[in-house]
């Protein structure tokens, strides 16, 4: 199966008793197989909502989302999801969290869990409980848990947002390594311009209220990228201009 994502005329409205908020407005986006795409935009632009729709966690929307040639209607382990918080099961230790509902007793699963623990550099912590881990370590466990299912698409919702700068850089590099090795299609939501340029082939800049795509900036720099290079700086100013360029409702920024 080809893991191309086709987002076609997707609209989403949140309703409660007295008001309805239009979060996504006729959004179209194609993410090619094996591509690394980041979505960036101001808070409230619906980028996290879009990711949840792609995951199938919310099926109450207009339009269609296709993963390969299947319509997305429910969550699937083919589309791994990494949340901003690690969301590990607090009652399971590291290796059991990674295995989840898969039996650790099976030799092939045991071996793959061990390999992933090595990959995310958590050797020696197999039996530790989430409360004993730091934020970065927990997030690495969450990444390993998603990778064990061999997802064709990995959806990441500001996965490094809550981490300190050193851990973040380290995990960004680890993620690139994984991407280059597994050729997984990656969609990463972030509010960090540097992160989006450092990681992705394509930066999708979104606009808020209602959420729509304002620009798609292809980043044609070779990997590994250096944040201090001149080309990197140029991309930064391109994206920054796109983000700040807000034609009509400037006051919306003050949320």
């Amino acid at each position: 199966m080809v893991a191309t994502l086709e987002i076609n005329q997707v609209s989403k409205t949140f309703k409660n008793e007295n008001e309805s908020v239009h979060v996504l407005d006729h959004l179209n986006l194609t993410v090619n197989n094996g591509e690394f795409v980041t979505i960036i935009g101001p808070s409230g632009c619906g980028k996290s909502t879009l990711l949840k729709l792609i995951a199938g966690l919310d099926s109450d929307f207009d339009g269609t989302i296709m993963a390969g040639d299947l319509t997305v209607s429910a969550p699937s382990k083919d589309r791994g999801f990494i949340f901003q918080e690690h969301r590990l099961f607090p009652w399971l230790n590291v290796e059991k969290n990674i295995a989840g509902n898969l039996p650790l007793k099976k030799p092939d699963i045991r071996k793959r869990v061990d390999d992933l623990i090595t990959l995310v550099k958590l050797k020696g912590f197999e039996k530790a409980y989430p409360r004993q881990l730091s934020g970065g370590m927990s997030q690495r466990v969450a990444i390993a848990r998603a990778l064990l299912r061999n997802p064709e698409v990995l959806l990441l919702d500001e996965p490094f947002g809550a981490l300190d700068a050193f851990t973040r850089t380290h995990l960004q590099e680890a993620l690139l390594e994984i991407w280059e090795r597994n050729k997984t299609t990656m969609v990463l939501v972030t509010h960090d311009i540097d992160e989006s340029i450092f990681l992705s082939r394509k930066v999708v800049v979104m606009d808020a209220k209602p959420g729509r795509i304002k620009a798609i900036v292809p980043i044609d720099l070779p990997y590994p990228r250096t944040r201090t290079s001149k080309a990197f700086q140029e991309f930064r100013s391109v994206i920054l201009t796109q983000l700040e360029h807000h034609p009509a409702e400037v006051e919306d920024w003050s949320i």
């Binding site: 199938g56 969301r87 099961f89 009652w91 399971l92 409360r131 970065g136």
Partner: protein, 274 residues
């Protein structure tokens, strides 16, 4: 980052080793008050300030206890009481857990069942006792059912509460990992609700002991409660005290058992332990 965690682990190891002495210390602290009370009681009794008729001295109570054990009377009463408590607790606890899970998992069954159960819960147990005796007689059935009723509500309530407190965020994870409906229950809902369920078991156990005493005091020909009632009519204060102490011990032992289970099953919890 890793050095920090190593340091944390070291800290954990240190905590493990000091745990033993801390445990001994806290046991010592807990026993200060009872020991002081016992000594004062014995002293006041020996001097003659406390009337021996109403307050048998601790020494006499111990002697009576030994007598009762040696004659086999204690064993017989304890056995029948424990059997009643166990059967009632098992029946009520099982039904409470089962219904708590059903009502906790399904909105529809909550709407159908929960209002009625909540209404029944507010009726004082002692008010139902005469009805139970009329329906099921003075035999074992009415006693076991009364105990079951007492054990049912705490477990039902806590299970229901625990399931409703399961983090929606973890539920999303279970959906993404494609947990089956059964796995959602066994690998997410039950472990997440376990702190509440264990609390429910503790509360159900104490309710079961209480109902046991009520049932045996009201009408029985055997059991620790009967022993107390019987001794009361003959003014055997020492035997009454022995009965009370047996109930206290049984309650404490069963509670400690659940505490042990809690420590073992909830070791993943990161809660405040002063």
């Amino acid at each position: 980052m890793s050095t920090q965690t190593v340091a944390q682990n070291k800290h954990l190891v240190i905590r493990e080793t000091t745990k033993q002495s801390k445990l001994a210390k806290s046991a010592l602290r807990g026993s200060v008050l009872p020991v002081v009370v016992l000594i004062a009681w014995q002293a006041l009794g020996s001097v003659g300030i406390l009337p021996a008729q109403l307050f048998s001295s601790p020494l006499l109570i111990v002697m009576t206890f030994i007598d009762l054990v040696q004659s086999g009377e204690m064993g017989m009463h304890l056995q029948i009481s424990l059997t009643r408590a166990f059967l009632g607790f098992a029946l009520g606890g099982f039904l409470g857990l089962l219904l708590g899970i059903i009502v906790g998992m399904q909105k529809k069954s909550e709407e159908y069942l929960n209002p009625s159960i909540q209404m029944l819960r507010t009726v004082p147990l002692l008010a139902i006792t005469p009805l139970f005796i009329m329906w099921f007689g003075f035999g074992e059935l009415s006693k076991v059912l009364l105990i079951a009723l007492g054990a049912f509500f705490p477990l039902y309530l806590q299970t229901f509460l625990g399931l409703r407190n399961v983090d929606k965020k973890l539920y999303d994870v279970a959906l993404i990992l494609e947990f089956s409906r059964r796995e959602q229950i066994t690998k997410l809902m039950i472990p997440a609700a376990l702190p509440n369920i264990l609390l429910g078991i503790r509360l159900a156990l104490s309710a079961a002991w209480m109902c046991l005493v009520v049932a045996e005091l009201l009408g029985a020909d055997r059991g620790v409660g009967f022993m107390i009632q019987d001794a009361r009519s003959f003014m055997q204060t020492d035997v009454v005290f022995v009965g009370i102490i047996i109930f206290a011990l049984a309650g404490k032992i069963s509670d400690s058992l659940v505490r042990f289970l809690e420590n073992h099953l909830l070791k993943w919890q990161d809660s405040f332990k002063a």
